[in-house]
């Protein structure tokens, strides 16, 4: 009976074939190559089977572990700053009229700028000699600020730059979420004598949950893979203060051409991201 309702038609495979080929060529085969590298030591044409040695090596590497905790600290700070800031911005944006359009455009502007350009803009802006920001901080306000020499300055510069770049994304998501709240909710709150904070806490926040989960996910993923901005700003320095996982990885794999170590590192990095994705997905599912 079910065979009659659902006839087998193997022509379906034909339509999937181009995708299978493309993915095999661009993702599966390269990934298998990486797996291949990660279990060997390669010197030109000489290859030695080393098993799990690279993985153990990477996991025991002090500087890679530091990079990992640096990434975690950075992502936590990004979320702690950008989510509340985005909510405040979204709440503050005008809902109607010309100013609504103007603020939408202004908010979207940083999102249109490529990562490396953002890095370059702030690299110049923060310089003490020719940058406005650096000059004002050092000369006018008398705060010693030099991202090229001071680790904390470099860290804060990357954090501020990332916030400037991506807090508007959170703001726009929140703005869209707020638009979908029916007017009656606000009316009912006014009738019930709710104060502004209660309106936020009991009407807006519950209804923003879905949007905020997305914002949290996007901002976490994006900040966890941060590479371009610190690379352009200081190349991971000064010292190792902005040496994030992706920068360490590219130094090992591309800079030192240490294929075995790099491959093992990137597979662990990949696995880590999969774990985070899984955890987020489970959290989202439980919310719903």
């Amino acid at each position: 009976m079910s065979a009659q309702l659902k006839p087998r038609d193997n022509r379906g495979w034909l339509f999937v074939l181009p995708v299978v080929c493309t993915i095999a060529f661009t993702a599966i085969v390269p990934l298998l190559m990486v797996v291949n590298f990660s279990v060997q030591d390669i010197f030109g044409i000489n290859r030695v089977w080393v098993g799990a040695e690279w993985f153990i090596d990477v996991l025991q590497d002090r500087s890679i572990r530091d990079s990992f905790w640096r990434n975690i600290a950075f992502s936590v700070q990004v979320l702690a700053v950008q989510i509340p800031l985005g909510i405040l911005l979204g709440l503050g944006m005008p809902k109607k009229g010309v100013m609504a359009s103007v603020s939408l455009v202004l908010m979207a502007l940083p999102l249109l700028i490529p990562h490396n350009v953002v890095g370059t803009i702030w690299q110049i802006f923060g310089r003490g000699d020719i940058g406005l920001g650096g000059h004002v901080l050092n000369e006018t306000l008398g705060i010693t600020y030099n991202y090229a020499q001071d680790g904390l300055d470099a860290w804060l510069t990357v954090l501020v730059m990332d916030t400037w770049h991506w807090a508007p994304l959170v703001a726009l998501l929140v703005y869209a979420g707020l638009q979908s709240i029916p007017d009656d909710y606000y009316k009912a709150a006014a009738i019930d004598g709710a104060r502004r904070f209660a309106v936020f806490r009991y009407i807006e926040l519950p209804r923003l949950q879905a949007v905020l989960t997305i914002a949290l996910l996007l901002r976490f993923m994006d900040s966890f893979m941060i590479y371009t901005e610190p690379f352009v700003l200081t190349g991971g320095g000064p010292g190792t203060t902005t040496n994030f996982l992706s920068i360490s990885l590219s130094k090992i794999a591309v800079g030192q051409f240490d294929l075995g170590r790099g491959a093992a590192f990137s597979l662990l990095y990949f696995f880590l991201i999969q774990v985070f994705c899984f955890v987020f997905f489970q959290l989202m599912k439980r919310r719903q």
């Binding site: 009656d184 009316k187 006014a190 009738i191 926040l205 519950p206």
Partner: protein
């Protein structure tokens, strides 16, 4: 609780242009159960929002017990309002929802809890008290919304904006009864907006009929049915609405299709006899096989069996007249005579009813059952 007066209220949403409400003077007496009835877009909701303070009138004054509150925000007006679609604080439980308006006004937690439990009992929500309100069914949600209005003891009035739209028809009746019971127990002033006449007529002591931003008539359901003051009320109330036939006047005698039907006596009739219209409800039209004084010749166009009664579509000198009759009537296409129950025949000039009109004939038919 208070008497709510609207004086010279005009409201325009964009500050100019068409008025959503046009020069309204109206008093809601303390403790009354009112229905606000009218077609969609006639200004009912605008009027509610003006009373509750969600809107500020362009012109005119809203007064509670003689005190002008036009400038006050909703929080300071002590009005409860229920909206068409359920509004819940979804992260709260049912009883937290009910406590919310009380706690916001500084009631102590035990008092608020006691009050919330009372309302849960009244609305038969006790089983759901500790449930999170997000997962409730549509009608349970609306019950909680109703509860948040009823829970407040100090309100000047409770306003309902078509609150039963989302409720199953079977449950509507029970809810309306619950509201009536609450009204009898607590004695709040209730204003109930609807475009459903059955809802309005069963709920209210007095019905305010609105059309196009104006109050057309404020009267008890009986008066709206028997003596509509405006042709709109005749059409809008009743199913189907009132029949209207062009009338002409010779001296004080008014006739329809050359049959003398009414004596206007010395009633004041504005100029322009061409605007005279006779009105009769389908319930008060009887159909007879033979001619008699005061009867008008008619043709049966269509016959509809409504179960307990028949609805006839007749043609009286080219005008369409609907009759509701109890006995099995003549077939479509046949000639007959119609008689209008003299006690229920009305005269209108333009849109307005003319008072002080007496019938010319006693009539033999008598009123058909409503």
């Amino acid at each position: 609780m208070a008497e709510i007066a609207l004086r010279g209220i005009t409201h325009r949403y964009d500050g100019e242009g068409d008025a959503a409400l046009n020069n309204i003077d109206l008093v809601w007496e303390n403790g009354g159960a009112y229905a606000l009835l009218g077609p969609s877009g006639c200004g009912k909701t605008t009027m509610l929002n003006l009373i509750s303070g969600l809107l500020t009138p362009t012109q005119g004054i809203v007064a509670f017990d003689g005190v002008d509150v036009s400038g006050l925000p909703p929080t300071e007006r002590n009005i409860a309002q229920v909206f068409q679609f359920p509004v819940l604080y979804e992260s709260m439980t049912v009883e937290q929802n009910l406590r919310f308006p009380l706690r916001n006004r500084g009631m102590s937690k035990p008092d608020a809890q006691r009050r919330a439990e009372e309302i849960c009992d009244l609305l038969e929500l006790s089983e759901l008290r500790r449930r999170r309100s997000k997962g409730l069914s549509a009608d349970a949600k609306q019950l909680v919304s109703l509860g948040r209005a009823l829970v407040r003891t100090d309100v000047a009035a409770i306003l309902f904006d078509e609150p039963l739209t989302v409720i199953d028809p079977q449950k509507k009746w029970g809810l309306r009864q619950a509201l009536k019971r609450v009204h009898q127990e607590l004695g709040h002033t209730l204003v109930y907006v609807t475009h459903d006449q059955t809802e309005a007529l069963t709920f209210a002591d007095e019905v305010v009929v609105m059309n196009a931003g104006e109050v057309v008539q404020k009267a008890s359901p009986d008066v709206l049915f028997e003596r509509p003051a405006h042709r709109f009320v005749g059409t809008f109330i009743g199913s189907p609405g009132m029949n209207f036939l062009p009338a002409s006047r010779d001296g004080s005698i008014v006739s329809v299709a050359d049959i003398d039907l009414l004596d206007v006596g010395d009633a004041a009739i504005p100029d322009g006899d061409s605007e005279l219209v006779a009105g009769i409800r389908p319930e008060f039209v009887t159909v007879h096989p033979a001619s008699a004084p005061g009867r008008l010749p008619a043709t049966v166009k269509r016959r509809q069996d409504l179960g307990t009664i028949y609805q006839l579509e007749l043609s009286v000198s080219g005008e369409r007249v609907i009759a509701k009759v109890a006995e099995r009537p003549a077939l479509a296409g046949s000639e007959c005579f119609v008689e209008f129950d003299p006690g229920h025949l009305m005269l209108f000039h333009g849109d307005r009813a003319v008072d002080g009109v007496t019938p010319r004939h006693r009539g033999a038919g008598g009123a058909a059952p409503r």
